[in-house]
């Protein structure tokens, strides 16, 4: 489970002064549910997710991930989380197998279990053809499968996806979306950030619309459409973040 309470992150910039990357964001995600953070570029999605993954420390507020506090128990939070983002790349000079094994070991797995887990993931994700090829020689789809295997090698309870389909072709994007659904079906707690409306509409059980670092609206797709009186998510989104443009 994820529970964020008034999560706030302030960045200090010499030229621009204080910038609020996230402003009092609160939400809750239960196991077996996908929570979508929908927002434009620079809305605060990545900052929020990085705080949940303990990559950034909140300036104010708190969050508990899988029962652990993101500040006090950061290492245990990371043991319980799989984080996949467009910006999390693979080591080019390692093979896909070495990459997955490395992250298994960093998660405290020993040689025997980690090898068995890599074989199981290779079966599940159909990776055997390229498992021993260096990551810099893999196609985009193969890289994405390797990244997924790296994310779930330690079988985390919570999965955080930060725009995982950014820059990917349709087929690769579909495989990611399918994988995220499977995670939910296995009872994982999932947070999924995107700026692609169709993805959010198809995938997420609850959608939080984020803009200017703040959560502006939250609900199921039907609730959001009903509250704004719009027929599709894109119009609904525009009405919430820029009512003057929607008018």
């Amino acid at each position: 489970m994820i529970e964020a309470r008034l999560l706030t992150k302030v960045f200090h910039d010499r030229k621009r002064g204080e910038i609020k990357g996230a402003d009092s964001i609160s939400f809750r995600v239960e196991p077996g549910r996908i929570y979508g953070l929908l927002g434009a570029n620079g809305a605060g999605k990545t900052t929020t997710l990085r705080m949940l993954a303990t990559l950034l420390k909140p300036t104010a507020g708190s969050a508990r991930v899988a029962g652990f506090d993101v500040v006090k128990d950061a290492d245990r939070v990371r043991s319980s989380v799989g984080f996949l983002a467009a910006s999390t790349a693979l080591y080019a000079r390692l093979t896909a197998r070495e990459m997955i094994e490395y992250f298994g070991r960093l998660n405290g797995m020993h040689d025997g279990p980690v090898r068995a887990r890599v074989e199981a993931l290779a079966d599940e994700l159909d990776m055997h053809d390229f498992l021993d090829r260096r990551c810099d020689s893999l196609s985009t789809g193969m890289k994405q499968k390797t990244s997924i295997a790296r994310t779930i090698v330690h079988d985390p309870q919570v999965l955080i996806f930060d725009e995982p389909t950014l820059g990917l072709d349709v087929m690769t994007s579909r495989s990611i979306v399918r994988f995220v659904r499977e995670c939910r079906d296995r009872g994982k707690t999932v947070v999924y950030s995107t700026h692609v409306m169709s993805e959010a509409a198809k995938l997420c059980d609850t959608i939080g619309i984020i803009h200017g670092g703040a959560l502006r609206a939250e609900g199921t797709l039907a609730e959001l459409l009903a509250s704004t009186g719009q027929a599709d998510l894109e119009d609904c989104f525009v009405k919430i973040v820029a009512p003057e443009a929607a008018a």
Binding site: R50, L55, S79, V81, S87, T88, G108
Partner: protein, 403 residues
């Protein structure tokens, strides 16, 4: 701190680096070839250039001397000289390296020489220019011999023994053992090269596993793992240190082989040369001492380049930050090469300079244990401080996520 995590990170970084051609060049190839290249390659090239310059005939201009045809004739007879009369711009011709040197024979020189009191001969050359210097030396040699012959003739004419002009010879003999001679000759240069290689060996791995990882997006992937940041920084730091120490190790192995090869070559030359000629060598314990003293320097450099590279957003930015560091290191390092600089207590606290100077002494077989302890201790303290800075920097979000 978890030993398993640190070992896992170090093993991965080592494997990753050994697959990178650029890291291999800076860690192994460059340190291995640099010493023989400097000692054999440059030495051979320099000796060939000098031999060629000596063997080639020198274009010489003669100023005056029209009333000294005998001297001019003798000069013409010397096969190494191509004698020409001076033209108005002869100084410019020497500066432009078109003429190697000029000699001014004063009026009435030959006549005065016959009487035993000739005015001075002046030789003009281009100071510091190799070929001009050789020609000037050859001219000096010619006129010295001419003077000696004139002296001998005058003494004979007056019924005096020739020996009277040179009643005794002066001899110089080396009393320093071969390792001290070698240490003095090479002791300044070797620490300079090793300290620089220690820095170069650390630089590329440091850039690759810090700024390079940030640029490629793998740093964020790694930070998502439960590995504590202190373990990540130590695992990565050990890789940078490995790069630095590998460069030192391979350069010392290469240096030892070069010295052995150079020693046997010079022994053969000494056997054919004058009796009593010593073959310079290096104290083998000195090389062990250099390796020991360089350890804290490697830690210091590794931590410094790690911190600086970590701060950079990209590899290019890291390289531009690290370039000034090379100049900062070169200056104290070059102190050991300067003649006449001796180790003092004050200098023993100046990082890099202290190690360069003490290594020079150790390679000469001189062991000042008090200074060695002070230098090892102070450098280890600087290294610990630099490592603490690196660990601290790795905990800063504004450094890790600097965009």
């Amino acid at each position: 701190m978890n030993g398993h995590t640190i070992r896992t990170i170090y093993a991965k970084e080592l494997k990753d680096s050994l697959r990178d051609r650029r890291t291999l060049i800076s860690m192994i190839v460059l340190p291995t070839i640099l010493m023989p290249l400097l000692m054999f390659g440059l030495g051979t090239a320099a000796s060939r250039i000098v031999s060629k310059a000596r063997a080639a005939s020198s274009r010489i201009m003669v100023i005056g001397g029209e009333d000294s045809p005998g001297v001019r004739g003798e000069l013409q007879q010397v096969g190494k000289f191509k004698i020409e009369d001076a033209t108005p711009g002869w100084k410019g011709l020497i500066s432009d390296k078109k003429v190697r040197a000029a000699v001014e024979i004063p009026p009435g020189f030959e006549k005065a020489l016959a009487q035993g009191s000739a005015p001075p001969v002046t030789i003009y050359d281009y100071q510091g220019e190799l070929k001009s210097g050789i020609a000037a030396d050859q001219l000096t040699d010619f006129f010295t011999k001419l003077r000696d012959r004139a002296t001998a003739r005058l003494l004979t004419e007056h019924g005096l023994p020739v020996k009277i002009a040179k009643p005794f010879d002066v001899a110089r003999k080396n009393v320093a053992p071969p390792e001290k001679v070698g240490g003095n000759l090479l002791g300044g240069l070797i620490p300079y090269i090793i300290v620089m290689l220690c820095l170069v060996g650390a630089t590329y791995p440091a850039i690759d596993i810090t700024a390079g990882e940030k640029e490629r997006g793998t740093m964020e992937t790694l930070l998502c793992s439960p590995a504590p940041r202190s373990d990540i920084v130590l695992g990565k730091f050990l890789m940078v240190l490995t790069g630095s120490l590998s460069a030192v190790f391979f350069s010392l192995v290469s240096l030892s082989c070069t010295i052995v090869a150079l020693g046997s070559a010079t022994s053969r030359m000494a056997a054919d040369g004058p009796p009593g000629l010593e073959v310079p060598s290096i104290d083998p314990m000195g090389l062990v001492g250099v390796l020991a003293m360089i350890l804290p320097v490697a830690v210091l450099f590794s931590a410094l380049v790690f911190s600086i590279s970590l701060f950079a957003k990209s590899q290019k930015e890291a390289q531009s930050y690290l370039t000034p560091l090379i100049f900062v290191v070169v200056m104290p390092c070059a102190m050991a090469v300067l003649p006449g600089i001796e180790l003092t207590l004050g200098l023993a606290f100046i990082p890099v300079a202290n190690v360069s100077l003490v290594c020079k002494e150790m390679l000469s077989g001189i062991w000042h244990w008090g200074y060695i302890a002070v230098i090892f201790g102070s450098t280890a303290a600087y290294a610990a401080a630099a490592l603490a800075v690196a660990v601290r920097m790795f905990g800063r979000e504004d450094v890790l996520f600097r965009t």
